[in-house]
């Protein structure tokens, strides 16, 4: 049969024809590219999701620690303050004149017939730059005066006193009956260790 002229103005037919036409094949490379893109996006999404979770956890931990941080800062300030004060105390402690050993030595250096009636320290501040130790005592017996002089010598040779006091002076010696009354000044003008 002779070929017929295939004219059709029906839009419904055209719609059905297009519907029944095989779909165009998408090139494999494009499909692979789309698949790779989707996979990459999925991995990226998972990564971002995990990181976001971690970030939120870290933020919550940080917010939980903020009170501890403020406490720590307060403690640190308090520590610094205490350290400063401790340093000052240490300095003060180091600068003070320790008397216990000196009293013991003073007792050892005092001759047998000499006794001390008054010990006066002026000023009382052990850190004062100049401090004076006034010793008043009596020596009885025949060798009273020489005992006083020996006492002075002993003090001058005692390192505990010479390290701390740079002058040992016998201020006065007077007689009261058989006794010799003496006054001894031990003085320092610089800070002793």
């Amino acid at each position: 049969m002779y070929p017929l002229i295939e004219i059709n103005l029906s839009e419904e037919f055209e719609r059905l024809r297009k519907k029944s036409m095989p779909r165009k094949q998408v090139p494999a490379a494009l499909g692979i590219a789309i698949a790779v893109t989707i996979a990459s996006l999925a991995v990226f999404y998972v990564f971002v999701y995990i990181q976001t979770g971690q970030l939120s956890r870290t933020k919550s931990q940080l917010s939980a620690l903020s009170k501890s941080l403020s406490d720590a800062i307060a403690y640190q300030a308090q520590r610094d303050s205490l350290r400063t004060r401790a340093g000052a105390l240490d300095a003060w402690h180091a600068a003070r004149t320790t008397w216990a050993g000196r009293w013991l030595q003073l007792a050892q250096l005092t001759p047998e017939f000499v006794y001390l009636a008054e010990v006066l320290i002026t000023p009382a501040d052990p850190q004062a730059n100049s401090q004076r130790l006034l010793l008043r005592g009596k020596a009885f017996g025949a060798a009273g005066e020489s005992d006083v002089l020996r006492f002075v010598d002993n003090l001058k040779r005692a390192s505990l006193f010479t390290n701390c006091f740079n002058s040992v002076t016998l201020a006065s010696v007077t007689s009261e009956g058989t006794e010799k009354v003496f006054t001894l000044e031990v003085q320092r003008s610089a800070t002793a260790p």
Partner: protein
């Protein structure tokens, strides 16, 4: 019940919405091997010479479809040649899709219609001679309002037009499908490359298709047809249109007065055909060797002989159903043969493969 369902599945319904009549053709099978006409109806819609309204047409459609007892949702239909523009143009050889895109792009070059308000289709004429790398193409366009009106009409009776062809193309298709068998049956020589005038003479207009051998060369639509015969007869006899119509529709030989009016009208049509062939002689160097007549006007007894006398070339009332099985019509075969010329467009669209 199952057999009935199976039988109805393969049935094709074709409706030709003509100027004065609705033609229903019910067929089955595929052309030409087992194509059978199962039923037909011809419903005149302009007894007073006026068109029916859309509502009345819908009522007629619904009534006739109930008579035909057809349950198909799809239909094939035909647009009148007056409501379409048919052009044969030469375009670069390409696929159909590309051809459609190309024509869509420059439709206004080929048809005098606004592309935005048109529906068009095009098809390559494979057998038509053309320059190297080029091909002859048939471009058909119609106003969208026309197509929408037909679709709307069919929608009112729950039908969808899956094939919407144009009358002259349908006539050419019916002719191409059957002309070799027709020539053999009539005992006339096959025309290989000579000019052929294919005249589909309808009620209000006549489609003139000029072919060279089997290749369409040009199509024209003339505003002349059976109505002009009836009006001429009514004027001459000073009677009303319905009365003249009744006289015209009488079976058998035409009455002398009717024949006179018929001859006058046919003469005017053939004068236009002669002009067209003179143009073909000048432009393409071929002359008219034979006329084939179809349509309701060609169904009148003696029409072919009159045409031969008037035009001076052999003329035949073309029978497009020459290879079609019509025995299923039983006692209505004679009735069908009397009006088969009017069913030529319907057959031309019914024999086409849907191609889905």
């Amino acid at each position: 019940m199952l057999g009935l369902w199976k039988r109805k599945r393969g049935i094709t319904l074709t409706i030709d919405v003509g100027s004065s009549a609705l033609k229903f053709l019910v067929t089955s099978g595929s052309y030409p091997d087992n194509f059978v006409v199962r039923d037909f109806r011809m419903v005149h819609t302009s007894a007073a010479g006026k068109q029916l309204s859309a509502g009345d047409l819908s009522a007629v459609l619904r009534h006739t479809l109930s008579q035909l007892n057809i349950a198909t949702p799809d239909v094939r239909t035909v647009i009148s040649g007056r409501q379409a523009v048919v052009r044969i143009v030469e375009l670069p050889r390409t696929s159909r899709e590309e051809l459609r895109k190309s024509v869509a792009f420059q439709l206004s070059r080929y048809v005098p219609l606004n592309p935005e308000e048109s529906v068009f289709d095009c098809a390559a004429l494979a057998q038509a001679p053309a320059r190297d790398g080029w091909q002859k193409c048939m471009v058909v366009a119609s106003r969208r309002t026309v197509v929408d009106a037909i679709n709307e009409l069919l929608r009112t009776v729950n039908l969808t037009a899956l094939m919407l062809d144009v009358e002259p193309i349908c006539v050419i298709n019916a002719f191409l499908a059957a002309v070799d068998d027709f020539d053999r049956e009539e005992g006339i020589a096959r025309i290989e490359s000579g000019g052929i005038g294919l005249l589909h003479m309808g009620s209000a207009h006549t489609d003139v298709c000029i072919l060279r051998g089997r290749v369409p060369v040009a199509c024209r639509s003339l505003d002349m047809g059976e109505m002009d015969v009836i009006k001429d007869y009514a004027t001459q006899q000073r009677i009303e249109y319905p009365e003249a119509l009744a006289a015209y529709q009488q079976a058998g030989e035409m009455a002398p007065e009717v024949r006179t009016a018929y001859t006058r009208c046919l003469g005017r049509i053939l004068a236009e055909v002669k002009t067209s062939f003179e143009y073909c002689k000048r432009e393409f160097d071929f002359s008219c060797e034979r006329l084939y007549l179809t349509g309701g006007m060609a169904d009148k007894v003696g029409a072919a002989a009159l045409a031969k006398d008037l035009h001076g070339v052999p003329a035949f009332r073309f029978n497009p159903f020459v290879k079609v099985e019509v025995n299923a019509l039983d006692q209505r075969i004679g009735e069908f043969r009397a009006v088969m010329g009017a069913f030529t467009p319907a057959l031309g669209v019914a024999i086409r493969a849907l191609g889905l």
